[in-house]
Symmetry: C2
Subunit: 131 residues, 2 copies
DNA sequence: GTAAAAGATGGAGTTGACTCCATGTCAATT
DNA sequence: AATTGACATGGAGTCAACTCCATCTTTTAC
């Protein structure tokens, strides 16, 4: 499918899609100077959305895709790549801890919002009754 | 305490603190043209941090604080205020749904990260052994 | 084959959330 | 009283992640 359909079916804008390409996290197939997208790209977009929601930057998403995409388990790495990979691992372990923290926070906030909502509901009820 | 101490003990910068004041979510007591902060302000900063992590914008945080702060349960509301309050409630209900979605996503991503980590670990192991 | 719609490109503009800087004011220390 | 360090203010700058625009090329419908 072409970019307009892809935008419609992923709920993003054409500009965003081209921007993701520029950043390097979404490479379409190019046919006659026109971008083509398929099911896999839709999956990628879903993954990107989730990762963004979880607090990943586009650069971090790029890293993740680079190191987990098409990398065979018996790849021979240079010393530099090993260094880089170790850094990436550390980063993601940090992210894991961060997300666990976040899960807890979300639960706390849901409590707060619930109470706020009850308070507002009560207030509205009263004011509606009085009028 | 003054702004520097407050910054140190909340782990934020003086500029950020002044910025939050400008946005309207953190009002210090002003003594002799100098800002003063106390325990309550620390609590507020913690709440702000959590809300931000959960995806709230500063404007949304402001709304939440406005409607749940110092609002007595028997306040008499104008028609306008009722309108506004209803909108705020709707917003927060949306946010609730959003956060629940996010909780699920975080769990999915943790799976992905775990697998990615295992893959990277294996690769590193192999390359370390081979050298 | 031609006009209109869709797509591509490069670059400027926007938004939210800061961050930095210059200059001026207040406070604490000597 | 004077100096030094902390604080205040207004405005400019930054960064990520878009978003918009003008202009150009390709595709599609007639």
């Amino acid at each position: 499918m072409k970019i307009s359909e892809f935008a419609a079916c992923t709920g993003s804008s054409k500009d965003t899609i081209r921007y993701y390409e520029k950043v390097g996290i979404l490479q379409p197939v190019v046919v006659n100077k026109h971008r083509e997208y398929n099911e896999e790209h839709i999956e990628l977009m879903n993954a990107i959305r989730k990762l963004k929601h979880a607090g990943f930057t586009l650069q971090e998403i790029k890293l993740l895709f680079q190191w987990t995409g098409h990398l065979e388990p018996d790849t021979r790495l240079t010393e530099e790549e090993i260094q880089s990979l170790e850094q990436v691992r550390a980063l993601f372990q940090q992210k894991q801890a961060y997300m666990m923290q976040r899960e807890k926070e979300i639960q706390q906030i849901q409590q707060v919002l619930l109470r706020a909502d009850q308070k507002m509901e009560l207030l509205l009820e009263k004011n509606r009754r009085d009028s």
